[in-house]
């Protein structure tokens, strides 16, 4: 037998036929990475547009609700693409990723970015009708959400890239 019997869930993923296929194929991993990049730049590119609007730094003539409607479907489309391709990349080397601190940091920051979005959407956004057209007088909550979103996503990119340089370091 080529692969040992899995002793935990990560090895079960890694030694699944799909995991082995992605790991052994010459084209699968780079192709998944390519779509992962296209997905994540779509996420971050559209989120940046929204964040700059929340900070009142760009697109001042666009109401916040309108900007949200224009960008959010693309943010989600990009996120779904990045999540699916990221999941497939993950299972091909699952046991190496779960012990990589940069991978764990990246997952943690994705959670923080998600929480930031939830707080913004369910608390701050409730009063959006009062500041929909605003530029200078954006509420504190909206500005904090914009800054945190930019910082979290920059950090996600950093840790994502760091994984690729440190995968063999930990065992």
């Amino acid at each position: 037998m080529m692969y040992p019997e899995p002793t935990n869930i990560w090895q079960s993923l890694e030694f699944s036929s799909l995991g082995i296929y992605i790991a052994e194929s010459t084209w699968a991993f780079p192709t998944l990475e390519t779509f992962h990049v296209i997905g994540l730049v779509t996420v971050i590119g559209t989120i940046m547009v929204m964040d700059l609007r929340l900070l009142g730094l760009a697109s001042g003539t666009v109401p916040v609700t309108r900007m949200s409607k224009d960008t959010l479907p693309w943010t989600w489309a990009g996120f779904i693409l990045a999540a699916i391709t990221g999941g497939l990349l993950f299972i091909s080397k699952a046991s190496s990723y779960v012990i990589n601190p940069y991978f764990l940091w990246k997952m943690g920051l994705l959670v923080l970015a998600g929480l930031n979005m939830l707080v913004f959407h369910f608390l701050t956004y409730r009063t959006v009708t009062h500041w929909d057209e605003g530029v200078q007088g954006m509420p504190f909550g909206a500005k904090v959400a914009g800054v945190l979103s930019l910082l979290f996503w920059i950090a996600v990119v950093f840790f994502g890239r760091a994984i690729g340089f440190t995968l063999g370091f930990y065992y």
């Binding site: 296209i38 994540l40 590119g45 003539t61 224009d70 960008t71 990119v157 890239r161």
Partner: protein
């Protein structure tokens, strides 16, 4: 395809690029990048964030022309919002890319996919300049109710595809048989 790339690499190996790459690798800047573990990853992070800014801008501009998003503003207004981000993003890509080449000159310059990517980047820059001029001119003469023609909309879409091909090239540089 594999054979074609292999022959391309063989040809690159017979050119002055080999001496150039070796000369670059002897510079103190190259040495600094090679001896600082985080230098290359950080240039790559800047590179990716700049793609996000520029591609995001190109996407929002295209969506406006395709009447999918941004319809509350005229095309020239939307253009003034996004074209500067596209160009500053591209400039950041060139600068961060330059440092990545200096850090790994052989991996980049003796790489067929690198040169295919560079050709696509030049095509993107030339086509985007023409596209921007044509769109702004037509939109301004067309007035507030101007709607992009089929040709403009097809170009907007094809430029996004070209961006994706360039990103694919960027990722596959790492996997080319050098």
């Amino acid at each position: 395809m594999g054979d074609l790339l292999f022959n391309f690499t063989e040809w690159l190996r017979s050119t002055m690029l080999v001496e150039l790459a070796l000369w670059i690798s002897d510079t103190s800047l190259s040495f600094w990048i090679v001896t600082h573990f985080w230098a290359i990853p950080i240039f790559q992070v800047i590179h990716i964030l700049a793609i996000a800014a520029a591609f995001g801008a190109a996407l929002m501009m295209s969506l406006r022309l395709l009447n999918i998003a941004g319809g509350n503003r005229t095309v020239p207004e939307v253009g003034r919002r996004y074209f500067p981000w596209l160009w500053w993003g591209l400039l950041t890509l060139v600068v961060s890319g330059f440092f990545m080449i200096v850090g790994e000159p052989v991996r980049e310059l003796i790489n067929p996919i690198f040169w295919i990517k560079m050709a696509l980047v030049i095509a993107l820059v030339v086509l985007t300049i023409g596209f921007q001029k044509a769109v702004v001119r037509r939109a301004e003469t067309g007035g507030a109710t101007w709607r992009a023609s089929g040709g403009v909309r097809a170009s907007a879409f094809l430029l996004l595809i070209l961006w994706c091909l360039i990103m694919a090239g960027g990722r596959w540089i790492a996997y080319a048989p050098v």
